[in-house]
């Protein structure tokens, strides 16, 4: 013991040979340097475009016209707000978002309840069910278009329609086209709701159920008083997130119907795209519409991020 202790002390001399310390960057400098690239990129690619398009929204500019933007005040906004077609676009978007989010919530929660019980291979099954949400929406839309095809698609056959003359024309029928998009959206995103609900379910402490069982609570009571309230925060996050995503949905609609037939599935994003990049290339008007969408999205995402932060804190 004494031996080792002298060993250690004998090494002490080497301290003197330590090299002089380099000058160090202060934490403040490091912090600034570390967030600088992110902030610059955000300003360049987000703030600047947003300011620019705010300006454009008050002009009659068109990118294909060889003419400088001309200030027209709030005319674009009044046009949009007084045009029946825009209101129809918003109604379509709202209807689509509402129906698909409700269905996703129900199906996603249901799937989570099914899968919370571990069984042999449940991990594999869970992952398989999650596959759709990771896929490229435009590619999803493309192969669903094939599925929906009234003659060569498999969808109607799976539903039991064997006669192509009487089977529904999903994408061509004005009454069904929006539902077709809803079906694909639900197919793709119910797994997302399921994933969040599973996380919520797995976090419920077992003793709550044990206590309830000892108190002879019925299964329904347990579901209503334990399961549902415990999963609620995560379910809320899922619902808000899906609402935002449904509201901005572009890829699926574009891939499946491009807004048709006629304009029955024309959501605001599709309308915005058509306004900005087709026909007259009405840049000013499209910027105004973009701003209206932006305000709605910011309002919903505010709620969303707040509940995210709450979940993070909990």
């Amino acid at each position: 013991m004494a031996q080792t202790s002298t060993d250690i002390t004998s090494l002490q001399s080497s301290q003197a040979t330590r090299q002089p310390r380099q000058r160090q960057m202060s934490d403040l400098r490091i912090m600034q340097l570390f967030i600088l690239p992110t902030v610059i990129l955000l300003i360049l690619m987000n703030i600047f475009p947003l300011i620019y398009s705010l300006y454009l929204s008050f002009t009659n500019y068109s990118v294909i016209a060889d003419k400088a933007p001309e200030w027209i005040g709030i005319q674009n906004y009044t046009t949009i707000l007084s045009d029946q077609r825009f209101w129809a676009n918003f109604a379509t978007t709202g209807r689509y978002a509402l129906i698909s989010v409700i269905l996703q919530t129900l199906i996603g929660f249901g799937l989570a309840l099914l899968l919370r019980n571990k069984f042999k291979g449940s991990g594999l099954v869970t992952t398989l069910i999650l596959v759709p949400m990771m896929l490229s929406p435009i590619v999803v839309a493309t192969f669903w278009k094939l599925m929906f095809n009234p003659s060569l698609g498999i969808f109607n056959y799976l539903l039991g329609y064997t006669d192509i003359n009487t089977s529904p024309l999903w994408l061509g029928d004005p009454n069904l086209a929006l539902w077709a998009i809803v079906i694909v959206d639900v197919w793709m995103w119910s797994p997302f709701v399921m994933l969040l609900c599973l996380a919520g379910l797995s976090a419920i402490p077992e003793y709550l159920y044990e206590a309830a069982a000892i108190d002879r609570a019925s299964a329904w009571f347990q579901f209503r008083r334990i399961t549902l309230p415990q999963v609620m925060p995560l379910l809320l996050i899922a619902v808000l997130f899906r609402t935002i995503e449904a509201f901005k949905q572009f890829d699926l609609v574009m891939g499946l119907t491009s807004g048709g037939p006629g304009d029955v599935t024309e959501t605001v994003s599709i309308r915005l795209y058509k306004l900005a990049f087709q026909g007259q290339y009405d840049t000013g008007m499209s910027s105004a519409l973009a701003y209206i969408i932006l305000i709605i999205i910011i309002a919903v995402s505010n709620l969303y991020i707040r509940s995210l932060n709450k979940a993070r804190g909990a």
Binding site: M1, T4, D7, I8, Q12, S14, Q15, Q19
Partner: protein, 365 residues
């Protein structure tokens, strides 16, 4: 080894104090324990000494040199964390060598020093393992080795045994103490465990509410607590503290008891108490002497066997209970009358308003 001085060091988080202005000198080679309940400012104090936390104002001196604004790496200290802070991507050997590499020590010397320190801590056999594969005790030994290998000016330890199992804790306590005796390194050790503090510290600094309550040797802290907080906090259970009224050499205690004040204290009590004579009498459970002709009457409320001794809970009045340590073979029925005296040299008195201990200048322990 360094002398560490804190001069009017304070730390505020926003408007609230984590540490109120504090003066403290830690002598070279001393083992100081910062003790207190959680949130009392002990860890903040330690982190200010290390430089991991910036002071709000005041100065910190190492061997007379002002290091207040020096980067932690420039202070030549070693810090042992509660959860060891071993890098899971490095082996135990690499973890121990890590601080030496920072200083650009030559490879040969690193190997030699790691070997020496590993021998000292008896962890040679785990050097190639990753921290995740080690037991809690070995992880802590590796963390200690990482601190020791530096030969730093001071060791700072933040509840280093807090994450260990009870049985490990006891043996590691002895190991750290042993190391300190061998190395004689200035050590500042933070804990909320008073047993640890009593066992290890040359001096204990008791903190509460961002303020140092008492800084003294373990026995001084135990026998002569500076105020009611220390009296309650140290010892398990803490000191018996009973409110009484002093008058002419006698103290009226609850349950119509009267206690005679020891001769040595009479003058102090005559002069230092408030006019109404209110006083708080304090004595440790082991100061109670059960005797048939004892001056204080009580009834047994409960009696716990502790193996080595029996702890009696004696009721003086409805809600005044005294803990008394009695011989292990003593057995009492509930509600039995027990009479006792308090050893005159072990009784202490506290001012009811300032809560400070009264001093009579002739303390004995």
């Amino acid at each position: 080894m360094a002398t560490i001085e804190l001069k009017q060091v304070e730390k505020k988080f926003g408007e609230s104090y984590a540490v109120k202005p504090l003066d403290m000198t830690i002598n070279s080679g001393e083992f100081i324990v910062l003790l207190g309940p959680s949130g009392c400012g002990k860890t903040t104090t330690l982190r200010m000494i290390s430089g991991l936390e910036a002071v709000t104002s005041g100065n910190i001196l190492f061997d007379g040199k002002d290091v207040t604004w020096l980067h932690p790496s420039a202070r030549d200290i070693a810090f042992v964390f509660q959860f060891f802070a071993l890098y899971s991507h490095l082996s135990a050997r690499e973890n121990i060598a890590f601080p030496l590499q920072a200083q650009g020590v030559k490879r040969e010397e690193i190997n030699q020093r790691v070997k020496a320190v590993a021998e000292m801590l008896k962890i040679e056999h785990v050097l190639n393992a990753r921290p995740g594969a080690l037991s809690g005790g070995d992880q802590q030994r590796v963390a200690l080795a990482r601190a020791l290998v530096r030969q730093p000016a001071a060791f700072l330890m933040d509840e280093p045994l807090g994450a260990l199992d009870a049985e490990f804790r006891e043996s590691m306590r002895a190991e750290i103490k042993q190391l300190h005796l061998k190395q004689n390194a200035t050590t500042v050790y933070v804990t909320h465990d008073q047993v640890e503090a009593m066992a290890m510290g040359d001096r204990i600094v008791v903190m509460s509410n961002a303020v140092v309550q008492q800084a003294a040797t373990p026995s001084e802290v135990y026998h002569n607590p500076a105020n009611l907080f220390v009296a309650r906090f140290i010892g398990s259970p803490g000191m018996n503290l009973i409110q009484g009224t002093y008058q002419a050499g006698k103290i009226q205690l609850p349950g119509s008891n009267v206690m005679t004040v020891p001769e040595a204290w009479k003058q102090t009590l005559d002069s230092k108490l408030p006019a109404d004579g209110k006083v708080i009498v304090g004595f440790r459970p082991e100061a109670v002497e059960v005797a048939a002709d004892g001056e204080i009457h009580s009834t047994t409320y409960a009696s716990d066997l502790h193996g080595g001794y029996t702890m009696l809970h004696l009721q003086l009045d409805r809600d005044v209970i005294v803990h008394a340590r009695a011989a292990r073979e003593m057995r009492y029925q509930l509600s039995e009358t027990v009479r006792f005296n308090v050893q005159p040299n072990m009784v202490r008195f506290f001012h009811p308003e300032t809560e400070a201990a009264l001093q009579n200048g002739s303390h004995t322990t």
